[in-house]
């Protein structure tokens, strides 16, 4: 009796071990830290990632079938906002927020500028249900999908049966978002010793390490924390950031440190899109810091940059642009034969 159990268990483990093999859509350089996302409960497969990609580009997720995730997160701009007038922010943040680039999300521990979303799998619910955005419920979306010809087939391919439910929809969209790894910039080639910075980029890199990398930490260019980087509060929007979630005044005006990968193409900048170019951003860090109790420590001492320094810094920041990422076919509008 005991023997049979052992044999059966071993057999079971062997089957599980096969499932460990990850889809080809998640690769990252060996010198990067391990992702934070827990892949065990949502193992990547080609079929699920593809289904997620179809969902990401399908306006079926919105009430009037006009808006898809890609309407606000466009590949050409590293999945950030292409048309500012579209994004009315998320629910309680109507009109306030700028859609961030979707890059290397597997390394984030929370999402949204204020961390309102605690797991990537739950992210899609926010825009889907927002009356000013897609104005849908996940239950109704699942119903609509059941009545299409394509989705039952895609779910069958991905899950082995054609049932459509909230969990499956969310996990597939997540798989696609996880696949959005940007790691083919010039910076990456330099780190892997396959390219060299120009003299100007090298100088910019040194300035960056001195002034910026405590928050925009390499190699992901974010420390995954909330910080107050001294932006003056916009009086009409009155967006207090992280404090909205924690109700703790220590979090006043703190926002999630965004990645700077692909920063040159993902303008406008900051949670409210207040800056339209990088010179304005640097001017903020040198001249615009507003002091308050929650101002981040590294910014207590003024950042001094000459005009030349600024040029050098921007030259370095442009090495974070990844053309492979914004042209990758696996990320683009899915064309498929039914």
């Amino acid at each position: 009796m005991k023997k049979t159990i052992v044999v059966l268990l071993l057999f079971g483990f062997a089957i599980c071990a096969f499932k460990e093999i990850r889809g080809i859509y998640f690769r990252y350089p060996s010198y990067w830290p391990k992702p934070i996302y827990n892949f065990n409960k949502n193992q990547l497969t080609t079929e699920k990632t593809f289904l997620g990609r179809v969902l990401f580009y399908d306006p079926i997720l919105s009430k009037d079938s006009n808006i898809s995730c890609a309407s606000c997160h466009s590949q050409h701009t590293a999945f950030s906002q292409i048309n500012h007038s579209y994004s009315k922010g998320i629910n309680h943040q109507i009109g306030k927020r700028n859609a961030p680039a979707l890059i290397n999300l597997a390394w984030n521990s929370s999402f949204m500028w204020d961390g309102a979303v605690n797991n990537l799998e739950m992210q899609a619910l926010a825009p889907m249900s927002n009356p000013t955005e897609m104005n849908e419920t996940i239950g109704h979306v699942a119903d609509k999908m059941k009545h299409t010809t394509i989705y039952p087939k895609l779910f069958y391919k991905a899950f082995g049966d054609s049932a459509i439910n909230g969990e499956r929809v969310l996990k597939c969209i997540t798989q696609f978002m996880l696949s959005l790894v940007s790691c083919h910039s010039k910076y990456d080639s330099v780190m892997e010793k396959q390219a060299k910075f120009t003299q100007q980029e090298e100088r910019g890199y040194l300035l960056f390490k001195k002034n910026c990398s405590s928050c925009h930490k390499e190699p992901l260019f974010t420390n995954d924390k909330f910080e107050n980087d001294g932006l003056p509060i916009n009086k009409t929007l009155n967006d207090v950031g992280r404090m909205l979630i924690t109700h703790d005044s220590a979090n006043y005006l703190q926002f999630r440190v965004p990645t700077l990968r692909n920063i040159q193409i993902s303008y406008p900048y900051m949670h409210d899109g207040r800056f339209s170019n990088l010179v304005q951003v640097l001017n903020h860090y040198t001249k615009g810091i507003v002091r308050s109790n929650s101002l981040a420590k590294p910014l207590l001492k003024p950042i001094l940059l000459t005009n030349n320094d600024k040029k050098n810094l921007i030259a370095f920041l442009s090495t974070l642009s990844d053309t492979t990422f914004i042209t990758e076919k696996q990320y683009s509008f899915p064309v498929f034969v039914n």
């Binding site: 629910n91 797991n119 439910n165 924690t246």
Partner: protein, 230 residues
């Protein structure tokens, strides 16, 4: 092919386990009530016929981590999540695999969803966000939804709406309910909404849609409304 092999493996394993313990299905019933009245909402809303003139249109809540205790010892437990919905009769009865020889004099359970589950991403069954018990603009389960009308509420249609949840301190709304019970194949629990609502100042407090101090207080009041009627 792999699926069939896995099925066979599962069936054999289940059969092995099944052959060794005697499983007995016991029923735990929830009866939402208003004083003595039962509040079932499947066909229509509930209208109280006392001076409160309360209408209840929606009442649903999560129950998790059910345990049985005998004096100071835990004698049985399960770790499932159950969505109980006064609009859907079938959810008011849950079957529990309690072996016949288990003794107990108390039942203990959580009203709501624990913080670990709250940060664990998308889940299925009763936890599927399709069930409408998940906040969308800020991650987190809604532990309890109670909606209705009262003349005391100076809101549109005199409506009150309590969506109670939140898993972060200091606004953690998860409550533990402990009740004395007598061993039975059919355990009945009542939730007296009259008791809960009359302890809330509906004039002042009638809309709760986010984690907050008030949400914690009202969760406590709902937890206190659970009772057994012997």
């Amino acid at each position: 092919m792999m699926r069939i092999v896995k099925m066979i493996f599962l069936i054999m394993l289940l059969w092995l386990i099944g052959s060794e313990t005697v499983m007995a299905q016991k029923v735990l019933e929830f009866h939402p009530s208003y004083g003595k009245d039962l509040v079932y909402l499947a066909d229509s809303s509930y209208q109280s016929n006392d001076e409160d003139s309360i209408t209840i249109t929606q009442f649903r809540f999560y129950i998790s981590d059910i345990e049985l205790w005998n004096d100071k010892n835990k004698t049985w437990e399960e770790h499932n999540f159950h969505l109980i919905n006064a609009n859907e009769y079938q959810t008011l009865r849950i079957s529990l695999a309690i072996p016949d020889d288990i003794v107990y004099d108390k039942i203990k359970f959580k009203l709501g969803i624990d913080s670990l589950t709250n940060v664990s991403g998308a889940m299925g069954g009763d936890l599927d966000p399709m069930k409408g018990m998940y906040w969308t603009w800020q991650s987190g389960y809604i532990n309890v939804k109670l909606e209705g009308n009262s003349p005391l509420c100076k809101t549109r249609n005199n409506a009150f709406e309590f969506h109670l949840g939140g898993y972060h301190t200091p606004f953690n709304c998860l409550k533990t309910v402990t009740l004395p019970i007598i061993k039975s194949d059919n355990i009945k629990l009542y939730i007296d909404l009259k008791k809960a609502l009359s302890s809330i100042n509906l004039k002042m407090t009638n809309q709760i849609m986010t984690p907050s101090k008030l949400a914690v207080d009202i969760s406590e009041k709902i937890a206190k409304a659970f009772e057994t009627r012997l």
